[in-house]
Symmetry: C2
Subunit: 145 residues, 2 copies
DNA sequence: CCGCCTGTAATATACCACATTACAGGCAAA
DNA sequence: TTTGCCTGTAATGTGGTATATTACAGGCGG
């Protein structure tokens, strides 16, 4: 199992928007070219990021721009924006434990809070990482040339 | 996306084995009955847990038993045993970033260590939770009746 | 030796991620 | 205001994966 690539696509997207800034025209086709996926996928992710208030999109001969500063955009924001994990949570619980069995009857209650704790731990860590951190690392790679 | 139910099945499995202990005969059919899934799934998970050294299985008119004490079996052990997450990691990275693009060329390098950090955080939290914790909660639910 | 149980392969099904085509609608520039 | 690019989105295809199910070979204990 893996978290959908929509998440990494989202971060990549934001990085390109930040990098090309207001100088160059950024379109879903340009982005799709850099990311290496279909433009429709990009437009969908763009829509998610827009709904979440991370970017602004003006139609027509368009302009896409960050709606927040890079250090105000965290991995968690992107992760939530693109619905990386559904409402049932990170862990898929088997759906039919036997209520006639003392374990089956209570396993859900006994595990849920623990699984939530694990998921929350992961999400809290994602809140610590920002787009600015990614840009810093990209810049320092670029300087090596 | 969600982590396969094989993980929760694995924990459920261990809980039943611990609960029914050495008194009653525990078979894949009994387990499947409590868990509410097909016996073959149970046997596969059993195999995983056996390989990982968490349970012992003797064939024939069989006996299944925990190979460690409940407080020595963590969620992480089960999670690893059933291959909840493949070797590529928790996050599925888009596979064809454009090497001609300054961002596409470096996005992988810039994000990998951060994603690893997130995953490791989750796994560390799982190491803190044991089968014994689950059994404690189940027991206290049972006492409510 | 008989019967129950595990190990495992083969097959089916349903769902999901991602790709692709197509087109309607909007904004901006000319 | 018209034209052309671009976004929003629906419809469809496809491959991969999770789980179910049937079937059977092999092993151990009674």
């Amino acid at each position: 199992m893996q978290i959908s690539s929509k998440f990494t696509i989202g971060v990549h997207l934001l990085a390109v928007i930040d990098y090309l800034g207001e100088d160059e025209k950024v379109t879903s086709n340009v982005l799709a070219g850099s990311i290496g996926v279909n433009p429709v996928i990009v437009r969908n992710v763009m829509g998610n990021l827009k709904e979440a208030g991370l970017i602004s999109i003006s139609q027509g001969r368009s302009g896409i721009a960050l709606a927040k500063k890079p250090d105000q955009i965290t991995f968690y924001d992107v992760y939530k924006a693109v619905d990386s994990v559904n409402d049932d949570g990170l862990f898929h619980f088997h759906e039919n434990p036997n209520p006639e069995c003392p374990i089956g009857k209570n396993i859900h209650k006994a595990m849920d809070s623990k699984l939530d704790r694990v998921q929350k731990c992961m999400e809290d860590e994602m809140r610590q990482i920002t787009l600015a951190d990614v840009m810093t690392d990209i810049q320092s790679e670029l300087k090596k040339d």
